[in-house]
Amino acid sequence: MAITRRTLLRYGLGGGLLLLAGGAGLSLQPSRRRAPRAPLRALDERSFSVLAAVVDRMLPPRPGYPSAAELGIAERVDAFLAEGDPAVAREFRQALLLLENGLAGFLFDGRARPFTRLPPEAQDRVLDAWRTSAWSFRRMVYRALHGLCMAVYFTCPEVFPAVGYPGPPPLGGAP
């Protein structure tokens, strides 16, 4: 599973500066807040709101699939980060704030609105722009966000029927 590491900050000077800019909150417009359903342990309220918006677009509603919001995927990502290396959590938080950042968005994609204030189709275009960017730093951030969302969602047993996975076989009496 390809995910984040505490290395994000050190990925070249440009990437590091941008992450710092994201973390410093140089936004032209406030984020649209989303209240977590459980107390946050690794993220702050703002970065959580961005994560929840990313989860909505990574794992949108689809017939047969349980809702990512109802499964609390963003909350579970927060819990996963809280149990690991604090440096990883810090850099993940910075990556989320960079994605949200209106100034960075303007420079990259010509949008001044924060990610959380964009309509869903525009959010998809932003994620696509990061996924296919010519700049490998942005592709790395995409992989980090994508990896954690996918890992957490697709390890929920509630999702197994939707993908045709019957789950682990019975062991037949092993103690």
Partner: protein, 514 residues
């Protein structure tokens, strides 16, 4: 209800000082075998293992739990730029607890290259043969019949047969395998002959003690001798330091922390000679997914049972590769496919019909290949860099095309690359699309399950960290016994060669103490 074998200590209530003959750091393929051999010779052995003790009672075939609890960095280990996902075990038994059981002897040609290019002395196929025989007998290493291969592996078999490519059954270290398909999450029936059910109990039977949840932080070296090992006790659940310390004072130290980790330990111990951590190799691995009309259920059945070395030697100047299969469980598949949204969910809906091949690039044999480099940061944590140059990119491209060809030959309806912008192939005529696609870091998913090198063995003092008896060049009583001593990659799955090398290394180590 204590089900732990005698000899395993899982928590430190107080700081502890120990004296022994040999301290083995790490309990995986290298550490377990060398510890068992040394203990059987009558030496007092203490093993330190940073991972937790887990066994079949706790293996629940649950991807989320398994990667979080049995893998390095909770399943997040990667190169510094996140371009290569690194699957490496972290438990009592090391990677042998979670590997996919494939066993090979190191090819003779690789040993000859080591002798010629790195001055490795005395490690001939004939020298190693009895050690291979011994570990094969102890670990039940035998060919898995092609007739028992699951549908996922049969695609590799049938596709290669149709194209006239070399292909055959693999050997596995199992006894009474139930063909479940969950080797990567810990064998729940103890069929896999991993170290925690074989060589570690052998070591305990001869009095060895193992301290789990203790990370070797530093080897104290004075006047060319390793004096103390400083260990930090970790909480088994969170892996965070508990504040307790363990100090071991042995006559000899065996570092079997695994590639990446052993170089990290040596660097933390101030043993940076400009060579430690260099020449780290990964068998960088690319994959192709394919879809069949009929169910494949690649999450069930022995995950790896068919292999092909048809493209291992691609001629001078080119990096060869070998072909195997991975298990296709939901999380592994979903993280490997880089799409999102409806496209991703649609793909995942077809999981039961999904088939996958992997191509493992045989890195480290071209003169220009320096491999990866392990460094440490101010806090002593590992930083790992692995630049992917044009020869590897060319190999990834060729491998992707050949995998697609094999999948189509076996009847796949659709083949899909793991590019960030995926390439879809439905007929042979589509294959040129794969040729035009970009290859390299963060262009597509890349994995490594085989970490090798970083403390190369041999007599070439400009490159080699340990000599041909695996003894550190500057620290008399420090030995390295794990995959980090390989001067190149192997071109085959490495676990069995690490077992045999450790089996062979015990005698020179015992002689050095006496």
């Amino acid at each position: 209800m204590s089900a732990r074998p005698t000899g395993v200590h899982e928590r430190l209530d107080d700081d502890l000082d120990l004296v022994c003959d040999v301290c083995v750091i790490g309990s995986g393929a290298g550490g377990a075998v060398v510890a068992a051999r040394l203990a059987a010779m009558g030496l007092e052995v203490v093993i330190l293992e940073e991972g937790p003790y887990r066994d079949r009672r706790s293996f629940r075939m649950d991807e989320g739990e398994a990667y979080r609890t049995l893998y390095q960095d909770r399943g997040l280990r990667a190169t510094q730029d996140l371009s290569i996902t690194i699957l490496q075990g972290r438990a009592v038994g090391g990677s042998t607890v979670v590997n996919w059981t494939t066993c090979f002897r190191v090819p003779d040609a690789v040993l000859h290259r080591w002798a010629r290019d790195f001055g490795v002395r005395g490690l001939s196929p004939e020298t190693l043969a009895p050690h291979f025989q011994a570990v094969e007998a102890r670990l039940g290493i035998a060919e898995w019949p092609a007739a028992a291969a699951n549908a996922n592996n049969r695609v590799l078999f049938e596709g290669c047969r149709k194209l006239g490519y070399e292909v055959g059954p693999l050997r596995r270290n199992v006894r009474g395998c139930a063909n479940l398909g969950y080797c990567g999450m810990g064998c729940p029936v103890d069929a896999k002959q991993a170290m925690h059910v074989t060589y570690l109990p052998d070591a305990f039977a001869h009095g060895a003690r193992l301290y789990a949840n203790v990370r070797a932080h530093r080897v104290e070296v004075r006047q060319g001798r390793a004096v103390d090992i400083l260990g930090v006790a970790l909480d088994p659940e969170t892996a965070r330091p508990t504040g307790r310390r363990l100090r071991v004072r042995p006559k000899a130290v065996v570092a079997s922390f695994g590639a990446l980790n052993t170089p990290t330990l040596l660097l933390r111990s101030g043993l940076d000679d400009g060579k430690v951590g260099k020449r780290t190799f990964l068998h960088p691995t690319v994959a192709m997914a394919s879809f069949f009309d009929e169910p494949v259920q690649a999450f069930y059945g022995a995950p790896q049972s068919i292999g092909s070395h048809h493209f291992a030697d691609r001629g001078p100047g080119r990096i060869g590769f070998f072909l195997e299969t991975p298990p296709v469980h939901p999380m592994l598949a979903a993280t490997a496919f880089p799409a999102f949204g409806q496209q991703q969910l649609e793909l995942m809906s077809r999981l039961g019909h999904m088939q996958a091949l992997i191509a493992l690039a045989i890195d480290g044999f071209l003169p220009e290949e320096a491999g990866g480099t392990v460094r440490i940061d101010r806090d002593g944590r590992m930083r790992f860099f692995y630049p992917i140059g044009p020869p590897l990119e060319e190999a990834f491209c060729a491998a992707s095309i050949e995998m697609a060809r094999i999948q189509l030959a076996a009847g796949a309806r659709e083949v899909r690359s793991l590019h960030l912008e995926p390439v879809v192939v439905r007929t042979e005529a589509d294959l040129p699309r794969l040729e035009r696609a970009p290859y390299g870091a963060l262009r597509h998913s890349i994995f490594s399950a085989h970490q090798m090198g970083g403390c190369p063995m041999g007599e070439d003092e400009d490159v080699c960290v340990v000599d041909s008896t695996l003894r550190h060049r500057r620290v008399d009583n420090l030995f390295v016994v794990d995959g980090s001593v390989f001067p190149t990659s192997l071109g085959v799955n490495p676990s069995e060669t690490i077992y045999a090398l450790a089996h062979w290394a015990a005698e020179p180590i015992a002689a050095a103490i006496a």
